[in-house]
């Protein structure tokens, strides 16, 4: 079971980002910032690392004159998250026995 523990989700901010992207088709940078209450730099570095792992994709667009960066979970990102959930569920089961 141990091998299913994904390093990517060790960090709580990354875990939360993926949680949000599991239930939202897409989510933008500012909404993330507001929801997770983290600084720009902190959020950006976690998003970057998830992007590097190809768990999320990034899309930049213009809203008026401002750029808006939106994020989506990739199929492999969703799979990894599901695996992490089952890992947690298994831990709970094991603790019960």
């Amino acid at each position: 079971m141990k091998k299913q523990f994904d390093k990517a989700f060790e960090n709580v901010v990354r875990l939360r980002i993926m949680s949000v992207l599991m239930v939202n088709e897409e989510y933008d940078f500012n909404s993330f910032k507001e929801l997770l209450e983290v600084t720009d730099g902190n959020l950006a570095s976690h998003l970057k690392s998830l992007e590097k792992q190809e768990f999320i994709t990034v899309q930049k667009s213009f809203v008026g004159r401002k750029t808006q960066t939106t994020y989506k979970a990739t199929p492999s990102g969703k799979e990894a998250f599901q695996a992490h959930l089952s890992f947690l569920e298994n831990l709970i089961k094991e603790n019960k026995n």
Binding site: E10, L15, R16, S19, V20, M22, V23, N24, Y27, D28, S31, E34, L35, L85, L88, E89, L91, I92, N95
Partner: protein, 204 residues
């Protein structure tokens, strides 16, 4: 690391918070109800006075002047209610330090207003065709369906308000002539009850 139970419940909480608009003001429900009751009183005065609203009408709603007055009043109530709702909700988001115009609020408003707009046009068609007897049930049912639709994107308590509006709408369809009573119960009394409940539960 957190215990797995704690981590799972946190994941669930963040999923909830990221999809629902939770800053809807309870007080705005109360205000909408009060506007609706005032409008109902006016309508009663125009249509029934001095008879009881359960009795016979003095003037008929097909009288074009009265019909126009009623429609204008309904529109004023709608605009006032939405306006007050926006104002109070904006104040609440400022207090909670969240944004009023966000992904979640947009989703909530879209899911609420698409059925309302459809219902509005449908009701307009009913009025133009002269099916006045079915206007109160139509507005109540469409509004209830709109609330039910929007309940997925805000605090889910609102779905009880939705069920009550739909039930009232169906009832009123089978009791023609009592539209005004059902209308003031639905848009007036139910809003006030819901608003006070939400205020006590979340806003204090």
């Amino acid at each position: 690391m957190n215990t797995p139970q704690k981590e799972l419940s946190e994941i669930k909480a963040i999923m909830e918070r990221s999809t629902r608009f939770i800053s809807l003001s309870g007080m705005s429900g109360v205000m909408a109800g009060i506007y609706a009751l005032i409008a109902s009183a006016l309508a009663y005065y125009w249509v029934y006075y001095p008879n009881s609203p359960f009795g016979f009408r003095i003037s008929y709603v097909n009288d074009e002047q009265i019909l126009l007055k009623l429609i204008v009043t309904a529109i004023i109530v709608l605009v006032l209610s939405v306006g007050t709702g926006i104002y109070l909700t904006k104040k609440k988001t400022q207090k909670n330090n969240t944004k009023f115009w966000s992904t979640t609020s947009k989703r909530f408003l879209f899911s609420l207003f698409i059925p309302i707009i459809v219902g509005g046009f449908f009701t307009l068609a009913l009025i133009l065709r002269g099916y006045l007897i079915i206007v109160a049930p139509a507005t109540l049912i469409f509004y209830g369906m709109a609330l039910l639709n929007a309940s997925h994107f805000t605090l889910s308590d609102i779905k009880y308000l939705a069920y009550c509006q739909i039930a009232l709408g169906i009832l009123s369809a089978f009791f023609p002539g009592y539209g005004l009573i059902f209308w003031s119960l639905g848009f007036g009394v139910l809003h006030i009850v819901y608003g006070i409940t939400m205020y006590l539960k979340y806003d204090r």
